[in-house]
């Protein structure tokens, strides 16, 4: 297993007031994303546990892209990965953010 953590500063907080949400399932080619509104409004942390080692650079890029687009300020995001492809990761992150904005 490999653990990765990425910390970002955002320009704004994620809208909405949902305290936490989860989306996805830990399964082959899939992942679960747990989002919690527990950080300062300009901070976002993404922690990943993955059984597939050696893809830190890909994760970093996918997370950076998500943070830039969604501006998920205030969120701690925890990922349990089952070996998902980057597009699936992006999709789940966006789904998760939408649940938090409700």
């Amino acid at each position: 297993m490999e653990s990765l953590t990425f910390r970002h500063t955002t320009q704004k907080p994620l809208p909405g007031s949902v305290p936490s949400a989860i989306t996805g399932v830990v399964a082959s080619g899939n992942l679960e994303v747990l989002l919690e509104r527990v950080l300062p409004p300009d901070a976002c942390e993404v922690a990943i546990e993955t059984p597939v080692t050696g893809y830190a650079a890909v994760w970093e890029a996918v997370v950076a892209d998500f943070v830039a687009r969604a501006q998920p300020g205030g969120l701690r995001i925890s990922i349990n990965d089952g070996g998902a492809r980057p597009d699936t990761v992006s999709l789940r992150l966006r789904q998760g953010a939408r649940l938090m904005e409700a």
């Binding site: 297993m1 936490s20 949400a21 989860i22 989306t23 399932v25 830990v26 399964a27 899939n30 679960e32 747990l34 919690e36 546990e49 993955t50 059984p51 925890s78 349990n80 990965d81 089952g82 649940l99 409700a102």
Partner: protein
Amino acid sequence: MSPASTDPSALSWYEASARQRVAALADPGSFREFLPPTARRTSPHLPLFDLPRAFDDGIVVGRATLDGKPVLVAAQEGRFMGGAFGEVHGAKLIGLLRAARDLKPAAVLILFDTGGVRLQEANAGETAIAEAMRAIAELRAAGVPVIGLIGGRAGAYGGGGLIAGTCSRLAVSEGGRISVSGPEVIETNKGAEEFDSRDRALVWRTMGGKHRRLIGGADAFADDTVAAFRAAALDLIARAPAFDLATLEAEQARLEARIARFGDCRDATEIWARLGVNDPEAVPAMTTAAFDETVARVEEAHHDAR
């Protein structure tokens, strides 16, 4: 913590996640989860095997209302480790069943979706299954119906099949399978001539929802929608049998009669023919409405002591 609930009459039980099933099964907005993912009660053992954990260890437990009545609910996630019983997964179910003993809800609902015991935590899983069966027997004796709903992709296999057999009542859909040894296990141990696990039609005939319903192994057959399972659950809660000597004597007689009558049958279609089903070959493709009519004419399907 739950995703936005979806229209229960449009949501496929088979395709839905455990969380989606619970949210759509319960009265809207009524579900409250115990030890939710934010509690991070994950398996302490899976990292040893280099396997990813899930924040809920593959089971969602909590309380809700069903038609306004309080119920406790457990839902297994069949896509995480095959919905199998590990230490935390099993303990969450046990905790729920023990709480039910004090709280006396209108029912406990178990949404099975499991391949049985999680091998990486086999001893804990096996023991938890025994604990669950004991707790269910105690709950039933205390008058709390325990209703099993089976229609997930992992079915109710292994110890899951035994827990299901301990419940007061079971609802099953076409895709739900109930069995102890799975097809692959039988094939691995006894050979493909005993059970060809790739023959999906054979798997469904032998272990699937329609066969279980026809022989009285389940009490309701539901369409593959959350709304259908909700309706079945409400109906079954109202006609849960007592857990006493009379019920178990009747079940003993029911099962002995089944073996006496069908013990020489090699295939489910032979059993269905002997049950009086006019066109047994047509059963797998029957619509729910047609199947319900067929069931209504089969006496064995209504021998429901369990």
